[in-house]
């Protein structure tokens, strides 16, 4: 059993030195990650962003049902369980988003006719849930040793009625926001892998949020790297 290592990372990025009404002071909440905490799945991870916490488990590459098998690559499945109640249509939509993001990075061609299952359980939700799910899924896939062409991370940003940008919004900030944008970015070139948005916003605001998300993703990828280095340097 791995000793849990918490990597503290409080980051603040001032993108402009002079203050102007639109200059965003972007800061991500404190995040932490724990790997290999479950004994049954091949890989598992728990990702914390502020108070939002998601537990992910990965089984794979494993046996696949003949009806679902793909002849030249692995079949990816994502199951998302909400904290309370039964999974509904919104969960199905989120599962599709996470699954397609994982399919873009996982090298399924190396394990044809197998299945890789990612199970996500929401432990607590205080905002930026989808971003936290993506981060937990990535860490769990790494822990399981699934071959990937890049890492990915999820970043959420909220635009309030004045046009101010807040990264990693809490539930209260999400409720008051005019628009909430969630992106998944890859680690190689910070390209946009997945995007889902809520609310109305303009094209310029989209580019602004994307740029802020790309800057924030650098911090998250650095955190991934540090926590993995710490883990493997001990053993």
């Amino acid at each position: 059993m791995e000793v849990a290592k918490r990597a503290d990372a409080r980051l603040s990025t001032d993108t402009r030195t002079e203050s102007s009404p639109r200059s965003p002071v972007c800061s991500l909440r404190h995040f932490a990650c724990e790997q290999n905490l479950l004994s049954r799945p091949d890989g598992s991870a728990s990702f914390l962003q502020g108070d939002t916490s998601v537990l992910a488990g990965v089984y794979g590459p494993a046996e696949v049902k003949v009806s679902k098998e793909i002849f030249n690559k692995a079949t990816l499945e994502v199951i998302l369980r909400p904290k309370i109640g039964l999974p509904g249509v919104a969960e199905k939509s989120r599962e599709r988003l996470i699954r397609n993001t994982c399919e873009a990075v996982v090298l399924g061609g190396l394990h044809p006719r197998t299945s890789i299952t990612v199970v996500l359980q929401v432990v607590s939700d205080t905002g930026s849930l989808l971003a936290c799910c993506l981060n937990a899924a990535c860490m769990a896939l790494v822990d399981a040793g699934v071959p990937m062409r890049a890492l990915f991370c999820g970043v959420s940003c909220a635009l309030d009625s004045d046009g101010n940008l807040v990264l990693d919004p809490t539930t209260k900030q999400e409720k008051e926001a005019r628009a909430i944008l969630t992106f998944a970015l890859d680690s190689v070139e910070q390209k946009l892998l997945m995007s889902t948005t809520k609310g109305l916003y303009s094209d310029a605001e989209l580019q602004q949020c994307l740029a802020a998300a790309q800057a924030a993703s650098q911090h998250i990828f650095r955190f991934y790297r540090e926590s993995l280095q710490r883990r493997y340097s001990k053993s």
Partner: protein, 276 residues
Amino acid sequence: MAAGFKTVEPLEYYRRFLKENCRPDGRELGEFRTTTVNIGSISTADGSALVKLGNTTIVCGVKAEFAAPPLDAPDRGYVVPNVDLPPLCSSRFRTGPPGEEAQVASQFIADVIENSQIIKKEDLCISPGKLAWVLYCDLICLDYDGNILDACTFALLAALKNVQLPEVTINEETALAEVNLKKKSYLNVRTTPVATSFAVFDDTLLIVDPTGEEEHLSTGTLTIVMDEEGKLCCLHKPGGSGLTGAKLQDCMSRAVTRHKEVNKLLDEVIQSMKHK
């Protein structure tokens, strides 16, 4: 000869066309299929529309019923969309509870309604706390040939513009609702959200309005929903290959032109309805 090659190596067959900047059905990379729309054809529904995008056919029917408004928002009504993909439209769907594709499409339409504020829910309230309209929007696919999200959004928009609600008064003595079917008024449709879908090929090439085969061969999809002021209601990119900011900009400009095309078509149809 070509048919044999297409069966064995569909992706290579497709790449040969893309190299010449066109597609097997003769379209350019940025060209939409022929769009046809017919509104008001279902007489039993309060509003209806049939949209054909090439072969993809979606029927939208809107029925209005009474309901008690939600407790936390007593001055609002409901708009409930549902997308149905029956086995009729494609061999990949089975009978039974809605599959993942249908659920994702329903969630997408619900998000578009919510984000674009196409109808102000306050307009659907008849008597605060007691009675409100609920609009059940059922979208049924009759033929699945790719790009159902665009067709569904257009069908929903056209059907909502066609909805006529009767006047309702609450009789104070009996506290019952009285419906005056002779006096009907159109819904106040505030914005016109138009969806434009793209498919990503080989991580670099973007093509507009993918057919069923193209969707199957693509490595990713992107749907942009824009309203008439150029504001974005939804940027739906469910995974797939990565895109840079510059590529997104190209997609935005294509979405703006598509919005104008759709708007023009919808205005023509509504004008022709009024002349009847």
